[in-house]
């Protein structure tokens, strides 16, 4: 068994003041609420606001997902909702696409039009809780338009809506469903981000290390990749879109994957706070303190949820949730015990939410900010993971930054090598997983958990509905707005497409249609799967 951090640093049996002799409290830690924010952003921590306790929702039709959201509310989902889109919508193609229809509503919400968003939000207020919609980059600019359009329809002041509906352009490198080329994703990300910043909308954009880690990256790599992405994207908004860094700093939020190596995960989050604060001040010359505070949410690691003996996952999830709470974060969405089997069953969802409630209400962990601050081991780990992360980040910068590193294949190779190494560690027994490579029991002796599934008929129903509904739209208005979007998409990259996307969304254009004509304008095939043609006459 390896006694090393997940990035390969040896761990001693005991840590003493000697291991942190160079630590300077004011310079390296600060009180919670003071630069460099290693200990957190709020002097009172969770006493002023407890972390948002939420669960991922999204399976089947929009109506079904709407019911699940209401159910989660009853189960104590506090402060925010979180919905992930289905596989078709992530590309995006429409649910009635010949290939898309087989997976409509699978693994997420089929959010292909404003109608779907209206159904999703039926009886659910746009304000009073954070609204988070996840899933791929190009689609996220359309989700932003849904929020703008629905707020307008409901007479809700857009500045009162908060949450996050947009995502970073690199996710298709990290095992996500996203069929769009990097340059298109980047352009749409810049458009949606600029729109948010200029219109002072309190919506964040997810720039996540979670995908990278869940695909096999280690902690030091995750921090390096996260910082490199943040740096590059913020720089583009400042340099290319002419925005002020102190305004841009309100945009990003990070979702960190938290695994079972308890102290290392806590150290990772503390180091991240410090790394962002230093970059904001030193690289971007931030003038406001708030600009030095990166919003960090936690997702407990789905990757660690085993297929074998799924009840064990309750223990894993509890350990990970506790780590996230102790590290300090703005929200936790935890994975479920049946993660390796299917979409969360109601039992699994309730178990995960209850785990959060138990940590928040029964352990006392929420009463003290950064309770492990000052631990010789945790401070050592925080310094060490930051140091190792800087080495990797420097390599990325030497290659020209995140985008250049991607183009040169460096990021992808680093991730694949790490994933293979993690697998080998399990094969060799260097890393033990109860029920998997030790203490294995025959499947017949295992506890049978309830499984929630989507049937093929459910997907077909969603597809058929969309097909029929499409014909009932105001076709002249649709044609007009789609044509305008197409013409605008032919202009230079600097031309922000959000206004024309919003008009098309209000005319009930679908995701496949909108991204399709944007693709066409850029000389790409309307359909990323090259199966259907553009249904609009755009000449």
């Amino acid at each position: 068994m390896k006694r090393e951090t997940d990035y390969g640093h040896p761990i001693k049996s005991v840590y003493t003041p000697k291991d942190v002799k160079d630590l300077n409290y004011e310079r390296d830690l600060g009180d919670p609420g003071a630069y460099p924010y290693s200990r957190g952003y709020h002097p009172d921590g969770y006493r002023s606001r407890v972390w948002t306790q939420r669960m991922t929702a999204g399976l089947g039709s929009s109506r079904r997902t709407n019911e699940v959201l209401k159910k989660y509310r009853e189960m104590g989902q506090r402060g925010g909702m979180l919905v992930i889109c289905d596989r078709t919508n992530a590309m995006p193609i429409d649910p009635d696409h010949p290939i898309g229809r087989k997976e409509a509503g699978v693994l997420g919400w089929p959010g292909a039009s404003l109608l779907e968003f209206e159904e999703l939000m039926d009886g659910i207020p746009l304000t009073g809780q954070s609204i988070t919609l996840l899933g791929s980059c190009a689609m996220s600019s359309i989700r932003l338009a849904y929020v703008v359009a629905l707020a307008e329809k409901r007479g809700v002041n857009l500045s009162e809506v908060h949450g996050s509906v947009t995502e970073y352009p690199f996710c298709n490198l990290f095992g996500q469903t996203d069929a769009q080329p990097l340059d298109l994703n980047l352009k749409l990300w810049l458009d949606s981000s600029e729109f948010i910043v200029r219109n002072k909308i309190r919506m964040r954009s997810g720039i996540l290390s979670q995908h990278f880690q869940e695909s096999g990256g280690n902690n030091a790599q995750a921090l390096a990749v996260e910082m490199a992405m943040l740096k590059e994207l913020c720089k583009l908004l400042v340099d290319e879109r002419g925005l002020d860094f102190d305004d841009v700093a309100f945009l990003p939020y990070e979702l960190v994957s938290v695994g079972s190596r308890f102290f290392e995960e806590i150290a990772k989050i503390r180091a991240l706070r410090r790394m962002w604060a230093k970059m904001a001040k030193e690289t971007f010359k931030a003038r406001k303190e708030k600009s030095c505070q990166l919003l960090i949410a936690v997702h407990t690691s789905g990757r660690t949820m085993t297929y074998q003996q799924p009840l064990n996952n309750i223990a894993r999830c509890a350990i990970q949730t506790l780590a996230g709470a102790i590290a300090g974060c703005t929200a936790i969405d935890n994975a479920c015990l049946d993660n390796a089997h299917a979409e969360p069953s109601p039992l699994a969802a309730r178990m995960s939410l209850n785990t959060q409630h138990i940590v928040a209400d029964e352990t006392g962990v929420a009463d003290v900010v950064d309770p492990l601050g000052g631990s010789y081991f945790v401070e050592y780990l925080t310094d060490k993971v930051e140091e190792e992360a800087y080495k990797i980040w420097r390599k990325i910068e030497d290659l020209g930054g995140m985008i250049a590193s991607v183009q040169k294949g460096f990021i992808q190779k680093m991730l694949k090598d790490s994933a293979q190494e993690k697998q080998r560690e399990v094969e060799r027994g260097d890393r033990l997983i109860v029920g998997v490579n030790e203490l294995v029991i025959p499947p017949e002796e295992d506890f049978q958990i309830p499984i929630q599934e989507l049937k093929s008929e459910d997907s077909e129903e969603i597809a058929a509905r969309m097909e029929e509904w499409k014909k009932t739209r105001n076709m002249p208005l649709l044609q007009k707005t789609i044509t305008q979007l197409y013409l605008d998409a032919k202009k230079e990259d600097r031309h922000n497409l959000m206004p024309s996307i919003i008009e098309a969304v209000k005319a009930y254009a679908t995701a496949g249609e909108m991204i399709g004509v944007i693709r066409k304008a850029r000389g790409l095939n309307y359909d990323p799967l090259e199966t259907i043609d553009c249904p609009f006459n755009l000449d």
Binding site: L59, A90, I99, N172, G175, D178, G216, Y307, H341, A419
Partner: protein, 144 residues
């Protein structure tokens, strides 16, 4: 073992999901065991997979699945039948619940490997169930 003797395996993710890590790890496991591996990647339809299997003349098709409906695997099996390729061994892996494993095996999938299946179990299954003589696919999949 000469190249013409190596068992040839096609690995593909099926459907729209982009989680390819598991499939890539299985590719490495099989190559380490001396097999020839053709990896198709993501966004593969049943038609594309069967076409490649014919072109590459494979002994085994290994499918990585993440969807919670299995219609596309049904389609794949149907296409293999129509192309007289029922002697090609088809195995699956991914986040597939146990009762679905039973269903898939009834439909003609030779074996289903849940997450964290050991490399030995996957390799052993393929080696014991696939026979290759010379260059031609004589693969008799003695399973079911």
């Amino acid at each position: 073992m000469g190249k013409s003797q190596a068992i040839k395996v096609l690995i593909s993710v099926i459907g729209l999901d982009g989680h390819s890590t598991g499939a890539e790890i299985v590719c490495r496991i099989l190559m380490d065991a001396g097999m020839e591996v053709v990896y198709l990647g993501i966004y593969q339809t049943p038609e594309m997979i069967v076409r490649a299997a014919i072109q590459e003349d494979v002994d085994v098709i290994g499918i990585s699945s993440h969807a919670s409906n299995y219609g596309q695997i049904d389609e794949l099996l149907e296409l293999l039948k129509r192309n007289n390729m029922e002697d090609v061994c088809v195995i699956c892996g991914g986040t597939i619940p146990r009762h679905q494993m039973q269903e898939l095996k009834k439909k003609g999938i030779s074996e289903v490997f849940p997450p964290q299946s050991t490399p030995e179990s996957i390799v052993h299954f393929i080696v014991s169930n696939v026979k290759r003589a010379g260059n031609s696919v004589s693969g008799s999949c003695s399973c079911s």
